[in-house]
Amino acid sequence: MDPMAAIRDTFFQECEEQLSELESGLMRMEGGETDQETVNAVFRAVHSVKGGAGAFGLEDLVRFAHVFETALDQVRAGKLDASANAVRLLLRASDALADLVRCARDGATPDEAQTTSLAAALKALTNGGPTDDGHAEDDEDDGLGDLTFLPLPVAVEAETTRPTGWIIKFRPLADLYGNANEAALLLREVSGLGPVSVTVDTSSLPDFADLDPEGAYLKWTITLQSDCDEQAIRSAFEFVEDDCELLISRASDQADEASLPQPGVDEGGAGSAETIRSPVPIMAANATASSDIPTDADVLAMIRKAQQSVSQPDHDQPAARSRQGAPPAVDGTSSKSDGGSAVGATIRVDLDRVDRLIDLVGELVINEAMLTQRVMEAGLARASGVAAALDELEHLTREIQDSVMAIRAQPVRSVFQRMPRLVREVAAMTGKQVRLLTDGEGTEVDKTVIERIADPLTHMIRNAIDHGLEPTDARLAAGKPEEGVVKLTALHRSGRIVIEVADDGAGINRERVKAKAIERGLIAPEAQLSDEETDNLIFLPGFSTASTVSDISGRGVGMDVVRRSVQSLGGRISIASRPGAGSTFTLSLPLTLAVLDGMVVSVAGHTLIVPLSAIIETLQPQAANVHTLGTDVRVVAMRGRYIPLVDVSMALGYRDAPLEADKSVALLVEGEGGIRAVLIVDAIQGQRQVVIKSLEANYRAVPGIAAATVMGDGRVALILDVDAIVSVTRTEILRGDALRAEPFLLQAS
């Protein structure tokens, strides 16, 4: 790849990071954290974007970032108060900046009107402060910024008749050397302008015993033959203009003579503590002089004065600037750097490589299982050395797998960070005031999962604001604060990641939901539903239709689509709602889509895997505890509760007749929303970590089955979708309308 193109990619990646840094910083400011560190971080983010944008000639971006940065600089300097209104404007500016970055990246056309109006608003905010941003902008746009700041004292002389050259008198002050500038290099620079003759005046050099090795004692007179203008010479001295005495004059015959070093100049001064730093008076005197002689007189006077001040610089400057390399200074430096040695050492790795590694480790896990099985089949005793080594191998394999998965794990922050903007937009569209609270952004989950939760989450948040929160007047009428709260939380729970979207709105209007469900023929008019069941109706396909969907949460996607996409990830979604107090949507997802801890069970001669995370306990049911309700619904009495019993072999269509409960093994499982059921299977084979192979990708989606895996003997085993199995029973009980899983065939590959 072209190196510049690669850097451009880096730039846009970095922009994304800076933009999210910017947004989170502004949000902290919105929350009242206006400490210097936060403001600095925010400023730096915009500054960085601007810097890179300038390098790529992204004019629109630079211009807007500059206005933005100017405003932030004022906040930083305490000249602008970070009021709620100001921060809100800054947040909108950050959105606009993000848009500009993305437009620049994708070559799209930015929303000119938005940018212009925000830039104007920012300028209005900044005005009152002293910054003259118009000028600063010009400085940067012309690409000559490094020259424009030069305060050029009147330089052009009326005398244009004899452009023979220049005489430059140059006397470094100690600070020039102190900043690691070098007189010889400056002379070299001047000699690049034309032929020069240089004379050095060493008359103020003290005796060796009195010599300060870092003092400044020399001065030079340079005669330059060149047609160049004064500015060219000045730019050679650009970095040292404040650290030297510099006198530039047109060369004329008279001047040549007059400018020769004069012995009288160099009387060593009796140390005046005052250092003359500004050469401006000299230049001013010179520039206005029409005759050479008074000029030189001025120069001599100035030089004499200056010399007095510089002759003993270090005696006058206390130990703070000790030039002798005193050990304490060195120690100070190194101890300081020791303190910072905990640099976060990170590397960037192409995701493809990590994915490949994960695939390979998956194969390794399968291979290890196969090896174990072969060894057992060969009849080696469990106590044999081979078996012990295999245990070790299994342990190692597992650790490798965990470590590799950890590489791809990422905090959900990247998704959460997109939400504040969404909230602002939806809030603006609905005219509601919304505060988004987030918690648990650091919760880690596999990158493949992260990529796929953004869409459902976006929809859930839209839904929470649009349908969950009441309009402002209704809130006030209900005695709630004007501002609605949407809370986004992530946490780990029993090997899964749980994401909750909670609002403090009115809660689900169950009467309306039920009426609508009846109207759409989703439930029988006489159905008796619990509150929870009613709430869950909103996930039914066909519940959400155009007439109930507004612009915001609509976009043609109902909650059923959200649920389906969540389920396709092996996740589940549920809702809990309290009238008047709000609703909470809970999304639960596996931490990874790559591996799973499972219970290996036999069902009617097939091997199935039940995800371990769903299993609460295993038990041997007693016939006496199993009761039949109606014709074929069975429940198990367990610790004073009745729990529905599901015969897996029948749910999947392996058998037509139910298995006798006391001849089977039962697994108490918990599905979505804490719904429990007892699954009965023929036998338990053991526990195993399995590598998930998608059934959809290799075959097709099968109801009741989440995915498949390859077992140690090379055969395919299906992974049970516990939620689906549990909900099938519930639906059966609920509606008497069995969504029985169709029988299926699967070819072992």
Binding site: A6, E14, G54, A180, F239, A329, G340, V343
Partner: protein, 121 residues
């Protein structure tokens, strides 16, 4: 002799651009991500010229330059400030900290190399 340049900048984009420009001009480039990191790099490297950004987390350019100048080893090593700041105040602060010169971003690779050659012995 090939000259070594230390660049200190928190922006990956800038680091990449500096590296590209300087390597193409025949310099050896070592890089650091902020002032603290820069000082750590200086324990193992002896650059001929240091180029540093101003706005950086942990330790900004001013602090970095001051720390560099405090160390006798780097007393005479040219330090160039690379920054988008155009106002004179920042520049004089950088100079007071001990900066040798400056380059205003967006830099032009030719100009960058020119300035480095100008201050490098």
């Amino acid at each position: 002799m090939i000259k070594t340049i230390l660049t200190v900048d928190d922006s990956r984009t800038m680091r990449d651009m500096l590296r590209l420009s300087l390597v193409e001009a025949g310099f050896r480039v070592v890089q650091a991500e902020d002032g603290v990191h820069g000082l750590e790099v200086l324990r193992d490297e002896t650059p001929d010229v240091i180029v540093t950004d101003i706005n950086m987390p942990r330790m900004d350019g001013f602090g970095f330059i001051e720390a560099v100048r405090r160390d006798v080893t780097w007393r005479s090593t040219p330090v160039l400030v690379l920054t988008t700041e155009v106002d004179a105040e920042k520049k004089s602060r950088a100079k007071a900290a001990g900066a040798t010169g400056w380059i205003v971003k967006p830099f032009d690779p030719v100009k960058l190399v020119d300035v480095i050659r100008r201050v490098a012995a």
